[in-house]
């Protein structure tokens, strides 16, 4: 906790108004030549006297913010607590929380007015609904005002906290083969480096085969020395590309959820993965393994926003020439709503990459309110279907109606 700004006493608007009332009454008393009746202002004078004489604290308070986790799934409701400890008696302490924009307040308030004794600790709380993104709390403003609200003194207590609203995860199945050319290491499904452990076939013994792969049963049966053959456990590299076009902003959250879900799927499969966020300024996270890499990518996904990007094809072309691993599996997340987005898919195909496209249908978010709207949506959906059919030559396209689970949309296209 660090204080960085302290204000002087400030007079509030209501003080001026009451002083005006005091002066006007005094003037009226003199105007009507009933100046002795000026004693009617006694209640106002008492009020000012007490406010000035008895309520003037130094604002010696300590503030702590308690947030249950720093990464929270979007849509969840979180209780945020403010712990206030005062080192003096403050009869009227106003606390204003620096609630970041985008967090939806669902219970309580971001402002509190309390009365606190010396040494007392008070816990104040409010609840917010988290949306995808990064939310920064920078300070808490504590403000003293006398019980009547005539004068105030404020202090800003620097108190930094951060919440990352991570995308919700969908249930998915792997729509591609994870077998590839890369030897994996670490706590992954393939514990052996090199030849793998998954049984594939029996063949004749060849000089140089280790003794432990000799299949003794088959040897006894055939009379010749037979060896087991194992399938290689080499894995494929996965590159996830997110088309962050602003024209797909209605389904952008779904796009990001799908990306995060497939990233988790990669983590579980033990495949290495990289991420390209094709915003106006593209963000490339190189292919890597593991949980730390996963969380790094998720943090970037949490911050992703739809952007006026019409350069995705150029960005993809540049990166696939320089950064994408050869024979990588591409997962392309795009509403396939812009020419550039479609062009990027064609480029990936032409450079020989296997592509699976997860395309949330941008029209599936709308509920038609009239017959005309229904007809218009039908036409748009037909146009989209025709377009996707044309693009099917370039990769596996999963057309995701966001009203359905992603898993079932994958199952409609890919045999699991």
């Amino acid at each position: 906790m660090k204080e960085f700004k302290e204000d002087k006493y400030q007079t509030r608007g209501k003080t001026i108004q009451l002083l005006l009332a005091l002066w006007l009454s005094t003037l009226i008393a003199f105007f009507f030549l009933r100046w002795d009746m000026v004693y009617l202002t006694l209640p106002i004078l008492w009020l000012f006297f007490v406010a000035l004489a008895f309520f003037k604290p130094k604002l010696d308070v300590e503030v702590k913010r308690l947030i249950p986790h720093d990464r929270i799934l979007e849509g969840e409701i979180v209780e945020i607590k403010l712990k206030i400890k005062s080192n003096e008696r403050i009869p009227s302490l106003r606390i204003v929380e620096d609630l970041p924009k985008g967090l939806e307040l669902v219970e309580g308030d971001k402002e509190f007015l309390i009365s606190i004794k010396k040494g007392e600790v008070r816990e104040l709380s409010y609840k917010v609904r988290i949306r995808r993104g990064i939310y920064e709390f920078n300070y808490v403003k504590v403000e003293y005002q006398d019980p009547f609200g005539f004068f105030k003194k404020e202090k800003i207590v620097e108190l930094y906290d951060e919440i990352v609203g991570v995308p919700k995860l969908e249930d998915v199945v792997t729509p591609y083969s994870t077998k590839g050319t890369k030897v994996t290491i670490g706590t992954l499904p393939s514990p052996r480096v090199g030849e793998g452990v998954e049984f594939h076939a029996i063949r004749e013994y060849q000089p140089g085969d280790p003794l432990k792969i000799i299949n003794w049963k088959a040897t006894a049966k055939t009379g010749e020395i037979m060896s087991n053959e194992y399938e290689s456990e080499r894995k494929v590299d996965v590159v996830l590309i997110v088309d962050a076009t602003y024209r797909g902003k209605d389904v952008f959250d779904y796009l990001i959820r799908a990306t995060a879900s497939f990233m988790l799927d990669c983590l579980n499969n033990g495949t290495s993965f990289g991420l390209l966020l094709a915003e106006e300024v593209p963000l490339w996270i190189r292919v890597d393994y593991g949980k730390r890499h996963f969380f790094k990518c998720v943090d970037f996904l949490s911050m992703a926003k739809p952007d006026k990007n019409n350069m995705i094809a150029y960005q993809v072309e540049h990166l696939l020439k320089t950064k994408f691993p050869a024979r990588a599996q591409i997962l392309y997340f795009s509403p396939l709503i812009t020419e550039e987005g479609m062009e990027a898919l064609k480029l990936l195909y032409h450079y020989g990459y296997k592509v699976v496209v997860i395309s949330p249908n941008p029209y599936s978010v709308f509920e038609p309110k009239s017959e005309e709207e229904e007809l218009a949506l039908k036409l748009l959906n037909l146009k989209r279907k025709a377009q996707l059919r044309r693009l099917a030559a370039y990769g596996i396209i999963i057309d995701w109606d966001i009203k359905k689970p992603l898993k079932s949309s994958i199952a409609e296209v890919v045999k699991i």
Partner: protein, 139 residues
């Protein structure tokens, strides 16, 4: 302007019951109702009430009590809107009602010291203004 009524209704009811005895002042209460929603309108009501009391020569303990109740009403309406704690209402009530014994004290001393109440008040006003201007300008 937001409407939030908690304790301000009590001084208002007492004020209403007292003003029933003064039909000339009753119309002012219509304006007083706005004190529930706006402090400024409450102040306008208080100023008009004090002017009327001076004009109709309604002074003494009753006059002070009427002003105290009107002030208590507009201030507690302000506290209602600020969601203040009960302690603040208590401090407010005690402070405002302190004007009654002060008046009685001045009144009882008045026969001994000629025109004491006005002198005392003038002095109080000057001291209060001095402290106020020092606080606002000096600190």
């Amino acid at each position: 302007m937001k409407l939030r009524i908690r304790y301000s209704i009590f001084p208002f009811i007492v004020l209403l019951s007292l003003l029933l005895g003064y039909p000339k002042l009753l119309p002012l209460l219509a304006l007083g109702l706005f004190g529930f929603v706006s402090y400024f309108l409450g102040i306008v009501f208080l100023t008009l009430l004090m002017s009327a009391l001076i004009y109709f020569k309604i002074g003494g303990l009753v006059g002070i009590l009427l002003v105290a109740l009107a002030l208590l009403f507009i201030e507690s309406a302000y506290l209602d809107r600020a969601k203040a704690s009960r302690e603040h209402y208590l401090i407010l009530t005690v402070t405002v009602l302190m004007s009654l014994p002060t008046y009685l004290l001045i009144r009882s001393l008045a026969p001994v010291l000629p025109r004491f109440e006005v002198t005392a008040l003038a002095m109080l006003i000057i001291i209060m203004l001095y402290i106020f201007s020092k606080m606002v300008g000096g600190e």
